[in-house]
Symmetry: C2
Subunit: 511 residues, 2 copies
Amino acid sequence: MTETIDGWVVPVRLAPPSLDDNTADADRLKNVLAHRIGADHIAIDLPLLKRLPELIRMWNYECRCICFRTCDRWQLIDVASPEGSEPIAGIAVDLGTTRVVLQMIDLETGRTLSESAFDNPQAAIGPDILTRIHHADRPGGLDELNRLIVDGINAAVAGLCTDAGIGRERVFLMAVAGNTSMTHLFMGVSARGIIREPYIPATNTPGVLRADELGISLNVCARIFIFPNVGSYFGGDLISGAYFAEFHKNEAIAILVDVGTNAEVLLGNRDWLLACAGAAGPALEGGVSEIGMTAGPGVIDRILIDPETRVFDIHTIEEQPPRGICGSGMIDLAAQLFMSGMLDIRGRLVPEACGERLYEIDGLRHLVIVPRACSATGEDLTISQADIDSLIRSKAAMYTILETITGYVGIGFADLATFYVAGTFGSFIRPRSAICLGMIPDLPESTYQALGNSSLGGAARLLIERGAIDHIESIWDRITYLELNVNQDFMNRFSAAKFLPHTDASRFPSV
Amino acid sequence: MTETIDGWVVPVRLAPPSLDDNTADADRLKNVLAHRIGADHIAIDLPLLKRLPELIRMWNYECRCICFRTCDRWQLIDVASPEGSEPIAGIAVDLGTTRVVLQMIDLETGRTLSESAFDNPQAAIGPDILTRIHHADRPGGLDELNRLIVDGINAAVAGLCTDAGIGRERVFLMAVAGNTSMTHLFMGVSARGIIREPYIPATNTPGVLRADELGISLNVCARIFIFPNVGSYFGGDLISGAYFAEFHKNEAIAILVDVGTNAEVLLGNRDWLLACAGAAGPALEGGVSEIGMTAGPGVIDRILIDPETRVFDIHTIEEQPPRGICGSGMIDLAAQLFMSGMLDIRGRLVPEACGERLYEIDGLRHLVIVPRACSATGEDLTISQADIDSLIRSKAAMYTILETITGYVGIGFADLATFYVAGTFGSFIRPRSAICLGMIPDLPESTYQALGNSSLGGAARLLIERGAIDHIESIWDRITYLELNVNQDFMNRFSAAKFLPHTDASRFPSV
């Protein structure tokens, strides 16, 4: 892709000054640029102002302006020669609790220049965000956490620059999408209010900051956009995902589901948006069962069970000997167990159907998925009744959340034009299996759409779309956050959803 | 003055957060403040954001917000405890080529906390701005000039803080009014375009900068407002003066004249403004004649000559023995010489009237003002015909400028409701004498109003008036700069104005 995009790099040509037009250099440039981009005012940092008069004369009053804006202000970050082959770059960052993914983009062409990812080094303090926030309360703890992630990103930026063959000073923009807690820790701002009732972040709208004040080494005047969050449990990563899925454009009603530690759900269209978050995740992410793990070589991602012979047809990633099972594999497994009669509608393993795959350890039923002879570990790969119970609680929670949020605005599942599933979970899950379990509504499979890393996708898109800030602001502004009070009504729905696929089987005619 | 002023310090009380209202801390504060001050968006620097959650809880959701704005953005600079006796301060700066004057002000009460002034240390490089701008072109020259003025201001700030008994971190705002060149050198921005055709400044609108990027040591998040300039020869000091004289409010047409190296003139009212600048100054400032000097002890500031006896009645500042004469003294002297017949209408010394006070040195007539027996120097204090010629050229230039600018918009001098005279010159000049010379129009003396240091006055006023930025912007925005092309028409007017008081004596009926 090399066509011109309507991005943050804007070529301008100025009328040279004369005795009849003695407008100052910076104002001359700002006036023309403001007209081009529809800005009222444009700010220029002092380091650029100092260089500007010489540069625009050297380039004969022609240059490319690298600009950016926050909701209320345009900023001219730098100027570049009217033509030049070295890219003008920006970096999109998906700031995950577990993993951080970066993508360097040519701001003029939208081309990806380099990519990288690294495990969040804050994991050395604690794998989960709660441990980290507690650690931040200790003397020096917040600084330590902040330094870990800032150093990590700086190292990754250095690698991206090397891979792309450019210097750091050619990186003018960064867009960071993360959950509310990670966003705070990245800024070095305490997240202690987020985990304590009444769950108050320090800020919902970090906006645009200077790279240098965040300790990130890019161009001296570079700006970093941090996606706004809606609250403690609905972060900038979701806003980025909603922007990526074009909730600011869609006339038809869509839903976006992101499953991580929590399930976060966004429902609506370009006119209204409703968001909620709830604990539905761990089992779905493969984080609960003993053999559960995130996707990787040798991890079971798909299972078919012949309903007649009950023979297991197991697929692993890269077709390596099986060593565990990921979230989507678990969902496939449970769906197939149910369809083949090995699980009953209450989610209990049926001894008659399971046969010799079933045995008890300490009074708890275990089902052998891969016998030791075929596993990579030399041990039986098993799941227990407890694992299945956990999965079913998660799927029931998910369905209940979906039922609650749609019910809140009085629409049915059939009104959903698109059902976006974000993240790794969304990329691997087979909707048919999730429908069989009654985890997601019984909609045509074409309704379901995997978004991939939509948090990164939204951040990357912002880097090449000048209208992005308005779109993101309009999404953020229209979101109503629905607090999922676990009341009697919710509990009743939840109980009904704990059956496979549901107490009310008429909701799942295709199963 | 201790009543509450509508300034930059705004007390707010927030509703404490709850499960029903989980708006983030910063957004909670911004929402309330935005409503109070009529802002769409408010920016917060990272250092404040980091401290904010703890502070607002400590103060039980009540605090004083120290805010500021530029044309397009509000900034929350800091928060202070809801009550406290230590002042919240700002500093107004008149950034003169020769002298820098500072005034520290309590932002809540408008009270002056301390004052100071120092000679511009850039004078070590060159007394005039031209020499300095040339010096800035040498390697390291610009940095050197910048460091001199920045260090000078920092030292003065330290003194102001000591005098006021507060720490630097209690200074949150600074407003700087200077001419275009000084403004550039203060920012460390090259002024080379200002003195070279077509006379282009680097910027007309420096706006609001962070104190730390300018190297000024105040509060860590302090902001510095730099008055905008209209062009190379009409600077922020004049805009500040116009704001001080309330050109944004006046319905009646007024004129403002500031005499320094150049004469700068602003004409208009709240609806339109016309500005021009011209070389009319040196002789009026007392900078030309051999005995000319700026006002100080022993300097002649007023002279009366008895028209009958031609006896001189000389007044000196602090009534010390005479050692020289200042600008206003020169104007008094010339007016009195003219009124007593010692100068003719062409400005020539009349030997018959001057008598023994007149003698020639190298063929040039000199008039003894103070004989050596009475002077502080032990020498005759004399002025030459050349000094008088120079004064008359200056007065003619001044009158011609005034005639041209009013003529340009088709109004007569009689249409001027107020004639503001700024600066030291304005404070000492006696309008009657200037009228006698035909330097300023023959208007009732009550029309003339001395503004004092209006550059400092405007800067100080900005520190206590929240509406200031709009007013200043509206003044700046409406100014049309009139280039005084020295054409035949101008030269004809100038020639006519070289007579005392004027070729057309009917213009000065009172003389």
